[in-house]
Symmetry: C3
Subunit: 457 residues, 3 copies
């Protein structure tokens, strides 16, 4: 009996154990089954949400604000190209002197294929107005500045060393590899127009090259059979930290549009992209030279100026960098200088040099004092009249932003700015244009007050 | 043996049990391990999708439709400001009389920082055309009405009682705290322009205030050294259910732009925001008064009218509300009245009062009959000519929408409307403007048919 | 003792087993509990992300490129409507001859209600420019071409056989059921304007119908009391594979706007939508006829031409299809022909027929050669002058795209194209318009080079 009892007890115990265990385990198994199904569904939803065949992106740039002169009127005629030399591309420091409402709104559609290739489509709407009122229809400049498509990593080139990472494009665009000195509001090169090309062709291990053709128009388009266009062929190379960009251009019949105008041109840019601040400290710096002749003598907007003479020649130097000084200060010096001659009239000759210092003092995570000092030397001879002298600007701008520690390029910024601008009397009333009604520099010695926002994203 | 057998049996049973259990459990454990990994991944994907550092939003308003007169021609010159007094801001009920295609499209970019602060950027494109054709380039008014940035809950103010919830802004915008009487298509105040300010400064427990500076332009902008601008400083207070808004403005040299025009002004608004329908029933109601003098005598568009005389004075009263009557009816009465003098000419004097009743009868979840009766009394003296009398409008509009039960402000609405408009003969051909070619009221007594959509989101 | 030992052993074994099992199981149970909570949360986040009450969509069409003639100038006056008959809607094959930058950008907002009904709002911005430069403000055509709202599957009709799937709309739009022959850049019908209607009324099992009213403007809109408008009532039926569209229109006082102009019109379209290539192979084909008189004699843009005479009559035939030939070739032939008389002048008479062959040879997944041959026969008599003859175009276009195997309608495409265009000498200098300064065909025999992108999404 005892044995029997024991056996029963053991059996019951076992049974109980195994019953309990199997009930528990079966219940758990059931719950795990359900969980696996739910997780699989959630994963699928989540994956589908992330592996979309297409996507939308919104990117933009904008600045807007009030600019007030010392008579408490709206300031006009100011901006980074406000000097006489501004007409040929000489900038001054932009902080606190821009009086326009400028917007770029990019609407981007991407399409992704299963083989890893993809397509991008972009339109950019842009506008620039000066009125501070909100209904701007009567002076609206709203227009489509870019409309192009790109094809990336096409599978037909997946085995090609040269083209496996290449991007093909066509349409109207700003060239992808344009770059600027933000503090001058000046691109180093601003290649744009309508055309086609290929980016990121791997020429060798350290050498990538872009090949592009751009067309631009000189003068009005009409329905007659002839429109003068300028066709620009560009090769843009990145070899290590060096960038070498070579462009040639031809514009048939431009001489018939404007007597004496060039019908061809060449342009070259050499730039060193430093990953520190001139070898002195952390940050970055970029230094280089541009040269051009004929239609290529418009050094920034390559091929955009159809009025250049056949003999036009220009050379431009630039250097700028960004670094930290101590814990709470940042410094960004910039230099740009150009000499050109036989530009718009035989024997005209223009020399200018712009020097700018932007300094920021971080007072909290959201507040900084920004200082800018800007100088420009001009020696201008438009073949009938000469003037030379200097332009001076000093600005102080208390600034709010989300993160001062992120540096000079964190946006949006909300700022108040006070600037003093003045220039040599010799420059008063001077204009590079020889036309009678050309805008001139006017007289200097003015205080400007600004309430501004600037953003990009 | 038996014992042995038993022991074996027990052992085997135990072994079996434990083998089974551990196999099962181990398998389950393995499945749970895998599930945990998968859930963690899904959570991360899901979290990343929701904790984006930036976002895009699209918001808009639009109305578009056909407006046909009783000769089966396109109706023109109609709308909420169609009466003679409309030129100085007197509205009539809008239902069934608007003949324009008006669009506002807001593209918004938000950026979120880890510390809880955030930034907002908005551009608003707007357009207004009258043609019913689809290619509207020749009469397009497409323009950028707003472009501004905001910074919210900056961490530097997280310890500040006054500024911890504040929003700083700069750029071109409609003031955030503008509000309207929808049925009149009239803002109570419409403060706008370019400037900067701070919202939601906590002055005390029940008192929040906004401080803003706006600039506006009078006349054309040109590149001469002087543009006449009006600078408006505003303090907008919310104390419990009361809103008190005080504005002062100054426009240097406006008198030199237009002889006799004011160079300064003051403006005040007092409003009670009721959270029920005048204490009578559920709903809401808003009642208040606006006063202004000089440049402040343009009571709605604060500081927007540079032609006001220095002696200009105006006072405006308004009241409106929205409530339910029984299960299927809704009512929205609205009143606005103004007296002004010495406005554009010495001794001009204008009095008007607009009364409007909007009534909706919900016939199903998607269909309602909307009725509107509108009256306007005018007593107008532009200093050379006088006229007085009344304007009358009655409209019935069968309307489709997603949810009639959501009330007056659910959109989109698709509607057909028939209106009868008429006015006192004394007003025929009268215009507030004293210029020879000014548009006049014409003759009354017309039936208008409308096929319209209206939406906002 | 042994028994005792056994019992202990058994008990210990049991205890161990059950302790182990219950510890394991309890731990697993705990992990499953946690997992269930996490999965529930993730599901909710994921569900909320997918069951949004509203959504944004971006859709568009764009083409942009360089078009260069054999003098290396910008080609002008080219395009699918470049022939004399183009003025009355006669297209030629579009490949390689379009010289404009054309963009359509649709911003769409959808709202979803819990009861399954939904609303859609669309604005379409469009632009068309010819300059290849990027700042196009001076010739911008940017405008709002569409602005409308739709209500879908309203719950009040959920029990209705006719209206349960219907869509109601109002505003300014392109009719939803317009369709085109892409290769001609020509719609078969392009009904557009401002109005209201209902789509997809289920008349019987195989018969769906749309009912719409559209208004269009003839001439300029001004603020006088009368604007001449054309009101078009349309019934558009789909009965199996047949589409029968019937339109009537009336324009009061159009004769007073332009002496002799029609004040009414009728229009009909009959189309067979084949789901294979003319019964011969896979693909699709569409074949049909359009007829109209009076204001209905503008067969494509229904009701859009207010200058048509009361006696105007026109009939148009069309047929096109798309198929594969073998593994790597695709073919798309298209035909369109029209005869019209008493159109703009008493006794004018115009006959034209356009024939086009588009052929694509798929050389890899991303590259194809596209060929197009296009003919147009014209016999034109504008009542004062006659001309007849043919237009000929041949184009070859190496093309890059994401997926050649997807067929003719996969976009974006990046293409280079060379075309030769020529026409009968008899047509040189001929214009359908009898006005002195009307644009004419000029002289033929030209080679055109194109670098283009085209996309839609």
């Amino acid at each position: 009996m005892k044995l029997h009892t024991l056996a029963v007890a053991v059996t019951m115990g076992l049974m109980t154990t195994s019953v309990l265990a199997s009930e528990d385990v079966a219940a758990l198994e059931q719950r795990i089954n359900e969980l696996e199904q739910r997780v699989a569904q959630t994963e699928q939803v989540s994956t589908e949400a992330n592996e979309k065949a297409s996507s939308f992106e919104f990117h933009g740039y904008a600045r807007s604000g009030l600019l007030i002169n010392d008579d408490l009127n709206g300031a006009t005629g100011t901006g980074p190209y406000m000097t006489a030399a501004g007409a040929i591309g000489a900038p001054i420091g932009r902080l606190g002197v821009e009086d326009d409402h400028y917007v770029e709104a990019n609407l981007i559609h991407k399409r992704f294929a299963d083989d890893g290739s993809s397509a991008l489509f972009r339109i950019m709407l842009a506008d620039s107005t000066e009125t501070n009122n909100e209904w701007t229809a009567s002076e609206s400049q709203l227009n489509v500045r870019q409309v192009y498509s790109e094809l990336n990593r096409l599978s037909m080139f997946s085995e090609s060393e040269a083209f496996s990472e290449a991007t093909f494009w066509a349409g109207k665009r700003f060239d992808r590899d344009n770059f600027d000195i933000h503090f001058f509001d000046s691109d180093i090169v601003f290649l744009s127009g309508t055309g086609a090309g290929v980016y990121d062709v791997q020429m060798s291990e350290n050498w990538k090259a872009n090949f592009s053709i751009y067309g631009r128009d000189f003068g009005e388009i009409d329905s007659s059979s002839t429109d003068v266009e300028n066709y620009i062929a560009t090769m843009n190379n990145r070899i290590g930290q060096w960038q070498v960009m070579l462009s040639g251009m031809t514009s048939a019949d431009n001489d018939s549009r404007l007597n004496g105008a060039a019908e061809s041109g060449v342009h070259a840019m050499f730039t060193y992209h430093g990953d520190n601040f001139f070898g002195l400290s952390e940050g970055f710096s970029k230094t280089g030279m541009l040269v051009g002749s004929g239609l290529g003598a418009e050094l920034k907007g390559i091929g955009s100026n159809g009025d250049l003479l056949d003999d036009a020649k220009a050379v431009r130097l630039f250097s700028y960098g960004v670094t930290r000084i101590g814990d709470n200060w940042r410094l960004a010096p910039a230099l740009m200088a150009e000499h050109s001659q036989d530009r718009l009239k035989k024997n005209d000759e223009f020399t200018w040099a712009s020097l700018n210092f932007r300094l920021a003092q971080e007072l909290s995570e959201n507040f900084e004092m920004v200082y800018e000092g800007s100088l420009q030397y001009m020696d201008l001879d438009n073949s009938t009249e000469q003037a030379s002298g200097g332009f001076y600007k000093a600005t102080i701008a208390p600034t709010l932003k989300l993160s001062t520690s992120t540096g000079f390029f964190d946006r949006p910024e909300l700022r108040f700015a006070v600037s003093y601008v003045d220039w040599s009397e010799d420059l008063n009333g001077y204009s590079i244009s020889t036309e009678a009604d050309a805008a001139t520099m006017g007289e200097g010695g003015e205080v400007l007050f600004a309430l501004q926002m600037e953003t990009w994203f």
